[in-house]
């Protein structure tokens, strides 16, 4: 029985009157690939942003890698350095080269030596097949390339969990595949992944579990086969009809 790396206990959050997270209970095991889907405004992005506390929760407990998330800056920082995140808009640092984007974290957070860091960064760029762009600036790359760099950047911290917040939503259609391919490779390497996405092909191919959210609640969780062939709630049926 694999140990849990992530646990939500009765987590609630409000944006004003809007109840974005409604009594969330969730446990993720080590090495699990979980896809979170649902209509926009359902709270799925907020859910994964609560994991590394880019959003704070109002009540309940969140345990990440055995540590409870509080507002203690030290705790947050140490957990964040072990949890990678990939954003919808890439959020690369435009004033740094691709290589510098990758080495920034390891250099300043882990204090690793520069040769070692550079070697590892190049290795991760190779992993996302973009090594030849190392000395360019983010603005000179296509969206798909930028997102692959963003993935490599989070890999440089050797994360135990990787969070993806709609990683392909801001991409031109022809670039979606190159990013998904990288994510599929990662999934096969056994890293724990939480992916908020509408890419149901990805979910079908690699996910261990699909979570469907609506109006701040987890409506349904099951294996991809079950979810796509026989969704248990009306809302998930309707959602699947709309996007498939």
């Amino acid at each position: 029985m694999a140990s849990s790396v992530l646990e939500f206990k009765k987590v609630n959050k409000w944006f004003g009157d809007l109840h974005v997270l409604d009594d969330i209970e969730l446990t993720i095991k080590k090495g699990e690939i979980v896809v979170i889907c649902g209509p926009s405004g359902s709270g799925k992005s907020t859910l994964i942003r609560c994991i590394n506390q880019l959003e704070t929760h109002a009540s309940g407990e969140i345990y990440v890698l055995g540590t409870e998330m509080t507002d203690d800056a030290r705790v947050l920082q140490s957990v964040r350095s072990r949890v990678g995140m990939v954003f919808q808009n890439f959020n690369l640092f435009p004033h740094l080269t691709i290589l510098e984007n990758l080495t920034l974290g390891p250099t300043w957070v882990k204090g690793a030596s520069s040769d070692e860091v550079k070697e590892m960064a190049l290795g991760n760029l190779r992993r996302v097949q973009i090594e030849e762009q190392a000395n360019k600036y983010p603005g000179q790359l296509s969206g798909g390339q930028q997102q692959r760099v963003a993935i490599a950047r989070s890999l440089c911290m050797n994360p135990e969990i990787l969070l993806f917040d709609e990683p392909t939503s801001a991409l031109d259609p022809e670039m979606v595949k190159e990013v998904l391919d990288v994510m599929v490779d990662l999934a096969k390497e056994g890293i724990t992944m939480l992916v908020v996405t509408h890419e149901m092909g990805f979910a079908r191919e690699v996910a261990d579990r699909v979570i469907f959210m609506d109006e701040g609640k987890i409506i349904e969780q099951s294996t991809p086969e079950l979810f796509f062939t026989n969704p248990s709630s009306d809302r998930s049926k309707k959602f699947l009809e709309q996007i498939l």
Binding site: A73, S81, F93, P94, L104, W108, Y137, C156
Partner: protein
């Protein structure tokens, strides 16, 4: 025939301008008259300017000769340039401010070369400015002591403004960051300071520093007037810098901060490594405007009896032998100011051009007009 003209068009650019003139300047009787009369007027003004500046000008001789010639009296500038540039600094020791100016010009020149950019140049500037204070003062270097009340002219203007720039920039960054802070006390203090300083003219701050401040000091305890004025200028332009930099801070998307935090950077690392480098870059143009403004504002030091460049220019006019050459003196001083400010603006352009552009937004955008 028309084919010939067409071919001439391609070959000879002057043909293009002839047809352009025909089409735009001489296309009706009214426009022809207008063109000719404006042309004559411009020619007239230009010729009198040229003859005043050069043809009728006196380059050597005394005031009497100057008055007879009717042109510019550059002899006056040659006579007074030492005083205008160095003020009351003892004549025998003028090599000291001259050395200071020479060093500043060299460092400024070096700052234009990309290969020199780095820590070494930065420290050279700081060391040179510090050394210059000791040099102008003299005591610590075992030289004759020259009191700050005797410092004047261009060296004073350069010293005050460069130290002012060097100190108000980091001060402005601290203020701007404090103003964005979550800590209410810090934020309030910063807002209060900025609004207070910006709500008062520089002259009144200088007056306070020179007249009001000493009253509060215990008896027998004095702080040099030049130093007080320097602090006043740093506080003043620091408040303006803070608002310029705040504009840059606000332009940085939230995603940048989130990305920095998500890889585990601390708040101060996020600020130092991700936010500030981008924010300061965005606001280079208004930053330089503030610096240039400050450089020119040093001329207000006159009112608290510090003899900056503008003051020495003015008092050079009161020599009874050389009365009536204000135009020449002010043109001379204006040129010095222009050279200084223009070089600053060129340097900032150079710095801006060296920044990586992100390919999408940026300097090359044309709006079609």
């Amino acid at each position: 025939m028309s084919e010939l003209i067409l071919r001439l068009h391609e070959k000879l650019p002057q043909w293009k301008s002839v047809t352009w003139a025909k089409k735009n300047l001489f296309n009706s009787i009214f426009n022809t008259i207008l063109t000719i009369s404006i042309g004559l007027l411009v020619l007239n003004i230009l010729s009198s300017v040229v003859s005043w500046f050069f043809l009728d000008a006196t380059f050597q001789g005394d005031a009497k000769l100057c008055r007879e010639s009717g042109g510019a009296c550059w002899a006056f500038i040659f006579e007074k340039s030492r005083y205008i540039i160095f003020g009351h600094y003892p004549t025998a020791l003028v090599w000291r401010p001259a050395l200071f100016i020479f060093g500043v010009i060299s460092l400024f020149g070096a700052s234009f070369k990309r290969e020199f950019w780095g820590k070494r140049l930065f420290w050279s500037w700081i060391l040179w400015l510090t050394f210059s204070i000791l040099l102008l003062d003299g005591r610590l270097l075992g030289l004759t002591h020259v009191e700050t009340t005797k410092w004047g002219g261009l060296p004073l203007t350069l010293l005050i403004s460069f130290i002012g720039i060097g100190c108000s920039y980091p001060f402005g960054i601290i203020l701007a960051v404090a103003r964005q802070s979550n800590l209410i006390v810090l934020k309030t203090l910063s807002v209060l300071f900025i609004e207070l300083i910006r709500g008062v003219p520089l002259i009144s701050i200088l007056f306070m520093a020179s007249v009001l401040f000493p009253i509060f000091l215990p008896d027998g305890f004095t702080i040099d007037k030049l130093f007080r004025a320097q602090v006043a200028i740093i506080l003043f332009s620091g408040a303006y810098m803070a608002e310029v930099i705040r504009g840059g801070l606000q332009a940085i998307p939230r995603g940048q901060v989130e990305a920095a935090k998500s890889i585990g950077l601390t708040n101060s690392q996020t600020l130092r490594l991700v936010v500030l480098p981008q924010a300061l870059r965005i606001v280079i143009p208004p930053t330089v405007s503030t610096f240039i403004g400050m450089f020119k504002d040093t001329s207000l030091l006159v009112i608290i009896a510090l003899f900056d460049l503008m003051f020495t220019t003015k008092s050079s006019l009161s020599d009874s032998e050389w009365l009536g050459f204000a135009r020449e003196a002010y043109i001379f001083t204006a040129m010095i100011y222009f050279v200084c400010c223009f070089s600053m603006s060129r340097l900032s352009k150079k710095i801006e051009e060296s920044m990586p552009s992100d390919g999408k937004k940026g300097k090359g955008v044309s709006y079609g007009f």
